[in-house]
C-alpha cells in the first residue's frame, strides 16, 4: 500500500504540475478561444490531481489531505515526470508551439495509460482513469489539431513547431521507463508498466506528425542524474529540473506563509 500511495502521487503530481504550467498561460494565450481551451485543460488536470492526491493521502493514513500534499512537500518529494514541469512558455523557456508539443506528447501518453488503468484492480484508480479518458481524448485532439495547424501553417510556425518538439523530446524517454513501484504494481494488475505503452503512443505521435508533415525529432533523451546506487534517477524519484524549484516556490508561497490559515 506504500506503493499504491506513491503511484497515486506520481500520477497526481504529473497532473498537478502540468496544470500549474498551463495556468501560467491564463490571459496570455494567442486568442481568447485558446485562453478558454487551455484553462479548461488545466482545470481537468487539476481535477485529476485532486482525486489522486486525496487518494494518496488516504492510503498513507497520516492525515495529509490534497493541500498538505500539494503545498507542504519539498521539491524532492514530488514524483511527477520532468516533462510536466519544464517551462514550455509563456515563460522564456518556450512559446505556444512548445506548449502544444508538450501537451501532444503528455496527453497521448496519459490517454494510453488511462485507457489501460480503467481495468486496474484498484477501483479508485479505475474510476479516476475512466473519467480522465474523456478529458484526455479532448486534450490530445486539441494538441494534435494545433500541431497540424502550426506544422502546416506558415513557414515561421513550422519552424517554431519543430523547435518546440525538439525542446520536449528529450523528456519523452522518462515517460516510458518503469519505476520499481510501477513494475511491482503492474505485476499485480494495479498499475501499468509504461514501457508497454510505447509503441501505441509512438504510433499516435507518428500519425499526428505525419498529418503535420513533420519528422519525428532526432534529439536524444537526456542523461539522468545518478544516485548513490549508481542508477539513473528522474522525476519519479524526486529528481527534477532546475526550473521546478521556482514553480514550487510560486505555487506554495501563500500556503506556506500563512500557517494555520483555512481557505
Amino acid at each position: 500500500s506504500g506503493d499504491l500511495a506513491t503511484y497515486c502521487l506520481m500520477l497526481g503530481d504529473d497532473a498537478l504540475v502540468l496544470s500549474q504550467r498551463l495556468s501560467e498561460w491564463c490571459s496570455r494565450a494567442p486568442e481568447l478561444e485558446e485562453d478558454v481551451a487551455l484553462a479548461n485543460i488545466a482545470l481537468d488536470l487539476l481535477g485529476q490531481a485532486r482525486m489522486l492526491l486525496t487518494r494518496a493521502g488516504e492510503i498513507e493514513g497520516a492525515g495529509r489531505d490534497e493541500d498538505a500534499l500539494a503545498y507542504l512537500r519539498e521539491e524532492h518529494e514530488f514524483r511527477n515526470v520532468q516533462l510536466s514541469e519544464v517551462d514550455c512558455g509563456p515563460g522564456p523557456g518556450g512559446d505556444f508551439a512548445t506548449t502544444i508539443a508538450r501537451l501532444l506528447v503528455f496527453s497521448s501518453w496519459r490517454l494510453a495509460l488511462s485507457q489501460r488503468l480503467v481495468s486496474s484492480r484498484d477501483p479508485v484508480l479505475a474510476a479516476v482513469a475512466a473519467k480522465a479518458v474523456k478529458e484526455l481524448a479532448y486534450q490530445r485532439d486539441h494538441a494534435a489539431q494545433w500541431t497540424i495547424r502550426l506544422g502546416d501553417g506558415t513557414e515561421y510556425s513550422r519552424e517554431r513547431m519543430i523547435a518546440g518538439l525538439d525542446r520536449v523530446w528529450p523528456f519523452t524517454d522518462e515517460l516510458f521507463t518503469a519505476h520499481p513501484v510501477e513494475t511491482r504494481l503492474a505485476a499485480v494488475g494495479v498499475a501499468v508498466d509504461p514501457a508497454t505503452l510505447r509503441s501505441e503512443v509512438d504510433g499516435v505521435l507518428d500519425t499526428v506528425l505525419g498529418a503535420a508533415s513533420l519528422d519525428r525529432p532526432t534529439v536524444g533523451s537526456l542523461s539522468t542524474v545518478v544516485g548513490r546506487d549508481g542508477a539513473g534517477r528522474g522525476g519519479r524519484d524526486g529528481v527534477h529540473t532546475e526550473a521546478f524549484g521556482y514553480l514550487i516556490a510560486e505555487m506554495q508561497h501563500i500556503a506556506r506563509s500563512m500557517p494555520g490559515a483555512t481557505w
Binding site: L32, G47, T154, S157, H253, I254, T262
Partner: protein, 312 residues
Amino acid sequence: MDEELQREFDRVVAAEQRIEPRDWMPEGYRRTLIRQIAQHAHSEIIGMQPEGNWITRAPSLRRKAILLAKVQDEAGHGLYLYAATETLGADREDLTQKLINGRQKYSSIFNYPTLSFADVGVIGWLVDGAAICNQVPLCRTSYGPYARAMIRVCKEESFHQRQGYELLMTMMRGTEAQRRQVQDAVDRWWWPSLMMFGPPDDASSNTEQSMAWRIKRHTNDELRQKFVDMSVPQADKLGVTLPDPELRWNAERGHHDFGTPDWDEFWRVVKGDGPCNAQRVAHRRKSHDDGAWVREAATAHAAKRAAKESAA
C-alpha cells in the same frame, strides 16, 4: 422610407421588444451599442488579469480550481460579447486594436492591483456585485443579442459573487492574519467599487438618449444607492467595516447615506494614471502581439485546407 423604419424601431423599443441584427436601426444606436458592448467585452478580458494574478499562487487546490474556472468564464464572456458586437457589423480584431491602443476603455476598476488572496474574494463580492447591479437591467435591453448575452453573463456573475463572498467568510473564520487581509482588501476596493457606476448623474453625459434606447435603464446614482444598500448588511454579516465614516442608515429615505467618492481620483484613473493602467494594457498588447504568428498560422492552414478541398 427611413422615417417609417425609424418609427417602427421606436415602437419596438418603446414596447420593450427586441431589435435583432437584421432589423433596421439608427446609426447612433448601432455605434453607441458597439462602443458599450465592446467596452464591456474589454472589461471582461482585462478583468482576467487582476484575478489571474493569483491562480498560480492560490493557497488551496479547491480555490485554485474555482479561480481558474472563474477567469475562464471571463474569457468566455468576452467571447460572446465580442460576438454580439459582430452582429452589429463590428470586427473583433479592430476592437482589440482599439483596446490596446487606448482608444477604447474598459472598466476602470481593473486599474487597481490585487495585493493578497483576499482581493480575489473582495472582487467577487464587491466588484462582481457592482457589475451585477449594472448588468441585471441590461438583460431587458432593447438589442436582442446583447440582452441574451447579459442573461448568461449575469447568471455566471452571481455564481462568482457567491463564491467570492464564501471565500471571505472562510477567511474571516480563519487566522488573525486572514481577517486583516480581508479588511485591508475591503478598504482598498470599496471606493473604486462605488465608482464603477460612473460619475454622479449631474456630471454624466449621454444618459438620456441611452435610456430612451433602453440600453441603459437606471441612472448611475440609482444603481450606486442600490449597491450600497445591498452591501451594508453583507459587510455586517462578514464582520468587516466599510471604510466610509459617513455611512449610516437613513430611515426617512429608506436608504443608506454614504460619503462622496473621490471623483478626482476617478478621473485620474480613467485618464490613464491609475496604479495599473499601463500594466494592464501592456499585458494585453504583449499577449496579442506574441500570439500574432499563431493566428496567422491558423489562417494560413485553413486556407491551405480549403484550397485542397476545392481542388479535390
